[in-house]
Symmetry: C2
């Protein structure tokens, strides 16, 4: 009579907020198991509801996965903002150094999230989504900005500080994002998986150096 992680058997016929419950279950599933672990039937099981009930709130398994992906991106944004807060708090130092620190914090937050929440990270970015939707509020963290926006903001600041020539500003986000994203994916489920921790830290730093220098 009980699934893997069932909530209270629910007194009323109606659930209350099934959509939220399914999304929460989906996030949990993605957290340990990645996108492929986001299984409709298991999510409904955890919400204490029959499999088909899900279709009243999500057209598809894919739709649920999309919602999970958005939520995961919001968490990525939170990780980035935390890192920005943590490393650029002392406002001492010139504008240029601050801009560089901010860009680095964006990358560091991204990488840290990938390391500590590989399943969610994978769910966040391996779900096909158009670039046009990168500003959608559903992907924004508590600060109201999406990961993509935080990156472009940091690059704008870098450019405003004179640390990135205007002719190299356009599409610079693609270059920075690619490098950091590639390292993240190669480390969490690619051939770089299982690298010793201290080596990982060094490689991450050097990658960010490379981006700052080569951009």
């Amino acid at each position: 009579m009980s699934g893997t992680g069932e909530a209270t058997p629910r007194a009323t016929y109606r659930h209350g907020d099934l959509r939220a419950a399914l999304l929460a279950a989906g996030i949990e599933l993605a957290r340990d198991g990645g996108p492929s672990a986001v299984v409709l039937r298991e999510a409904t099981r955890r919400a204490g509801v029959s499999p088909n009930a899900a279709y009243r709130h999500f057209t598809d398994r894919q739709a649920l996965l999309g919602a999970v992906s958005d939520a995961a991106q919001a968490l990525v944004a939170d990780a980035m903002e935390e890192e920005i807060e943590r490393t650029t708090r002392p406002s001492g130092g010139d504008v240029a150094a601050l801009a560089h620190a901010r860009l680095r914090a964006v990358g560091t937050g991204y990488l840290r999230f990938a390391r500590t929440e590989p399943g969610l990270f994978h769910a966040a970015f391996s779900v096909p989504t158009a670039l046009g939707t990168s500003d959608s509020p559903s992907k924004a963290g508590s600060g109201g900005r999406t990961p993509y926006q935080l990156l472009t903001d940091a690059l704008d600041a870098l450019s405003a500080a004179g640390e990135l020539p205007p002719d190299r500003r356009p599409h610079a986000e693609f270059l920075a994002w690619s490098s950091v994203h590639g390292l993240a994916t190669l480390m969490i489920d690619g051939p770089l998986r299982g690298l010793p921790a201290e080596l990982v830290a060094g490689v991450e730093q050097r990658l960010l150096d490379m981006v700052a220098k080569g951009l």
Copy 2:
């Protein structure tokens, strides 16, 4: 009595070379559909054989997928070598320029393969595999070298040419690989999918510039 793409119904009880047939079918499935499209039952169907016959040659669906991944990596190596051959043929020019051209060719081949064979590319590198097996002959192209080996070779040459300081040589493959890999994945099934072709070409070039400059 016929699956989607069945070979001749086979006169003999024995198949001949079922393992190879299943692998070929798996590659074809991955080609249009990526790793998740590599389905045991469909592969056996195409080989004109019952589903369980596969288990005589692969312990698992995962094992078949692993073989497909290796084959795909060999194709990546071929793409790289083609590009090296194409762009470094005129041996005129100094050693430094040649070394840079070679590293760039490695990246270009990688990116071109990802663009023209997204399904196989995804199958090649999204299958978990340890770094230690990156030299396995099963991943080598016609030239006998794996993608990872071609990259390290190019970096060694760059270092030998004095274009990469010795203290920055260690683990430089991780940085270069990350950047190129990230761009590839973001473009084929990430948020950068569907970028206009001419923009893609420009971004690819700039990314390779960034790596060469920042490494």
